[in-house]
């Protein structure tokens, strides 16, 4: 017992420095950033040592509804489209590469290195390289001319085309419908899996939410006075290609490790039961890779939600067709020197990343408890 106690004290002492450092340099600063975001702090105030005024949620409100903050709303839309495309591309390409590498081919180690190599670069380097490659007049657009074909006619990161245009005033409704649909799907999934009462509660909640949407509850959340169209900017394709080039090797490595972890006996058993090669993947391999897919989504998701360097290098900063909240935050804080608004954007980014990370942390903590 005495020994256990001493161990515990030693453990606490060992952990204490990092806990204190984390408390100051992560949590205190997060708190101080949130507090700043509730003020109108700016450079003149700070330099003349006058206190900033408390303005409540005004910075957040104006970001979502102010006529001058259209840039921020473009950023939100861009982030959503970019994140979805980037994750989908990384997962499918990574899985494809992993399955191909898993066919016991010759020189597997070499291919593995080649595919993983881009990850060793920083996004800044990736950005510079792809900025050259995507130059509309002398990048990959002219490649087909080497074999006598006409050049590709796509503007890449300076494209000003836009698909799926919609009015920002409809945004709350669209988001609510998507959220309600997801909740409904989750409920149906639970119902199908394990008929618990929770499943009925979830479905009930989704139905309630639909009624609220139908009655105009979501529409009333709109605070923007004038119509403002946003949509999927085709320039984002350039970002997605560059980012996928860098990160798909990582998903490949994760999937490959997962594939290697599946015992050969399981596959054999499936084959004996009469499954074809596709059936083995469909019913044995894929379900066992699900947790890996989840962790890959978490890692890629938080990268794409707070992406800065790649976009900054490729777009030069003020190209709104590929703009991201991180860049806006940087310019608002350091070029406009409006610290309050900059802090508000940073806080919103933190919330976005948290919505991805926290469910993951909760679920992984739960599994640990179950396992121990």
């Amino acid at each position: 017992m005495g020994r256990g106690k001493r161990d515990r004290i030693v453990a606490i002492l060992m952990l204490l420095p990092s806990i204190i450092l984390l408390a100051i340099f992560v949590y205190y600063f997060i708190g101080s950033n949130v507090l700043t975001s509730l003020t109108d702090s700016n450079v003149v105030q700070r330099l003349s040592q006058q206190p900033a005024n408390y303005v409540g949620m005004q910075n957040y409100e104006s970001l979502f509804t102010g006529t001058l903050n259209g840039r921020f709303r473009i950023d939100i839309i861009n982030t959503i489209f970019f994140t979805v495309l980037f994750i989908a591309a990384c997962l499918s390409i990574g899985l494809l590469l992993a399955v191909l590498l898993d066919q016991k081919i010759k020189g597997e180690a070499i291919f593995r290195t080649i595919f993983l190599f881009p990850m060793a670069l920083s996004f800044v380097v990736t950005g510079v390289i792809w900025k050259w490659l995507f130059n509309p007049s002398n990048g990959i657009n002219v490649l087909p001319t080497f074999i006598g074909l006409p050049p590709i006619d796509f503007d890449w990161f300076i494209s000003q085309e836009r698909w799926f245009e919609f009015n920002w005033q409809d945004f709350p409704v669209i988001v609510s419908i998507v959220i309600a649909a997801i909740i409904f799907a989750v409920g149906v999934y639970f119902l199908y899996k394990q008929r618990t009462p929770t499943a009925y509660y979830i479905i009930g909640f989704a139905l309630l939410m639909s009624v609220w949407i139908l009655l105009g509850g979501a529409a009333s959340l709109n605070g923007l006075a004038r119509q403002e169209t946003h949509g999927f900017n085709l320039a984002l394709f350039a970002l997605v290609v560059a980012a996928t080039w860098q990160m798909s090797g990582y998903t490949m490595a994760m999937y490959l490790a997962g594939l290697r972890g599946i015992p050969e006996e399981l596959r054999e058993a499936a084959r004996v039961d009469g499954a074809g090669e596709l059936g083995v993947y469909r019913y044995v391999v894929m379900p066992m890779l699900a947790p890996i897919t989840l962790s890959a989504i978490i890692i890629l998701g938080h990268i794409s939600l707070k992406i800065f360097d790649l976009v900054f290098v490729m777009g030069g900063g003020d190209n709104l067709f590929i703009d991201m909240p991180g860049i806006n935050m940087y310019f608002t804080t350091f070029r406009g020197q409006e610290f309050g608004v900059g802090a508000a954007i940073a806080t919103i980014m933190l919330v976005m990343v948290a919505t991805v990370i926290i469910p993951y942390l909760v679920s992984s903590l739960r599994t640990e408890e179950v396992n121990s």
């Binding site: 700070r46 330099l47 259209g70 990161f157 777009g315």
Partner: protein, 424 residues
């Protein structure tokens, strides 16, 4: 009695310790940290030449060139702000004259007035009054020493190319949009080359000056021109038409790329500050009046839209004595004649040797005539007429305008922005 002698002793020691400080005023020593965003090309060369000459005159001063690269001064601003807030100011720093200076540093009381230095050197007479107004407060206190003058409303072209395409330099934006632009587009030539967003703001200020005239343009910044009026909306409309005449890959180009399009003959005109003269003359090796030529941007004949780089003495600078020596040197004819030919700008000190053709090339001879005879306007893109906060917001307005071409909402947004940042 004993106590008195101790007092005397202490007094004497104190007096002794003051001696070196008094001596310091005569011959400054120690470190002198000069903060700027001049890291490349002629700017860096000019600064280094200045530092070398200064160090030869004051061998006891150890000059530290603390230039911060990147982001057209954005990074430098961030570093400077955090150092000022952290109580670690550099000895002296570069900043644009005008509203950008007064809306932050002067308003916050972080710069020492330099009136005594101006009087000693007779600079109140040597620097033009219009420039002095930009760097002093309402009570007549002067806060910085300007090293140069740049012109922003310059239109660059290649005379031979214009002849070949059958166009002349347009005298107004109407003429450019309705006559010059279609003629050039028919021949597959880009009428005007533009680069990334700040160069679009740079183009906007030339359009605004050309459409509104010097008085109307100045009125934008003192509140006498109404931003929501039809005339200002028409500025944005004209600007939109000019953008329609421009290259499509603007957001991929730096100002150098855009100016180079003119030299290469793929574009007819480019509007850029006179630092482009250095690009044409030095980097591209062209001959003035043959390989390239210049004119005031359309409709701005007789107006010189200017900007100026300055250095000042921050409150609490670690080595004020050395800064004073540096500023004294910076404003002198000698220093201005070293710096400006390298940086490619006009000397702010009117006593500088502008007629010396070995120092100032043919472009600057011409520009100097305009500087001394024209009406003066302040540049928006370079911080003379508006604060940094306004500039940042206006950048966003131009970026979205480039995409949607909505003149009414752009003008209205600019009006709201001006109220919010307190600029007009």
């Amino acid at each position: 009695m004993k106590r008195f002698s101790i007092f005397l002793l202490v007094f004497a020691v104190a007096l002794l310790s003051l001696m070196p400080a008094a001596a310091q005023d005569e011959a400054p020593s120690g470190d002198l940290e000069i903060f700027s965003w001049w890291v490349g090309g002629g700017e860096a060369a000019g600064l280094e030449a200045l530092i070398e000459d200064f160090a030869a005159k004051y061998p006891d001063v150890n000059v530290i060139n603390a230039a911060v690269a990147g982001g057209a001064g954005v990074n430098a601003t961030a570093v400077l702000t955090s150092r000022m807030l952290g109580g670690d100011p550099p000895d002296t720093f570069q900043w644009h004259a005008g509203e950008e200076l007064s809306s932050i540093w002067v308003r916050a009381g972080l710069l020492e007035p330099l009136n005594d230095m101006y009087e000693e050197n007779g600079w109140f007479e040597a620097f033009p009054q219009g420039l002095l107004d930009l760097i002093s407060d309402d009570e007549g206190n002067v806060y910085v020493v300007p090293v140069n003058i740049h012109r922003s409303n310059v239109m660059w072209y290649v005379p031979g190319n214009l002849e070949e395409w059958g166009v002349t330099v347009p005298a107004s934006w109407d003429e450019f949009v309705n006559e010059t632009c279609p003629t050039l587009q028919e021949q597959g030539v880009t009428p005007i080359s533009v680069g990334e967003t700040w160069t679009q703001v740079h183009l906007w200020e030339s359009v605004a000056l050309g459409v509104l005239g010097p008085e109307g343009y100045a009125g934008l910044w003192d509140g006498s021109t109404d931003w929501t009026s039809d005339t200002v909306t028409s500025v944005f409309e004209t600007f939109g038409q000019v953008l329609d005449c421009a290259n499509e890959d603007m957001s991929a180009l730096s100002w150098q790329d855009a100016s180079q399009m003119v030299a290469e003959g793929s574009a007819a005109f480019n509007i850029m500050g006179d630092w482009a003269a250095g690009l044409f003359l030095v980097d591209l090796g062209l001959v003035a009046d043959e390989g390239f030529a210049w004119a005031p941007s359309p409709g701005t004949e007789g107006t010189f839209m200017m900007l100026s780089d300055t250095f000042g003495l921050p409150v609490g600078a670690p080595n004020a004595g050395a800064v004073r020596a540096w500023l004294n040197y910076l404003g002198s004819v000698e220093a201005q004649d070293i710096f400006n030919p390298l940086k490619g700008s006009l000397p702010a000190n009117t006593q500088a040797d502008i007629s010396n053709e070995e120092l100032y090339n043919v472009y600057f001879q011409d520009a100097y005539n305009d500087w001394t005879s024209n009406e003066i306007a302040g540049s928006l893109a370079h911080g003379v007429v508006a604060s940094r906060a306004f500039m940042n917001g206006f950048n966003d307005i131009i970026a979205s305008f480039a995409a949607d071409h909505d003149a009414t909402s752009a003008a209205a947004n600019a009006a709201i922005l001006g109220l919010q940042t307190g600029d007009f």
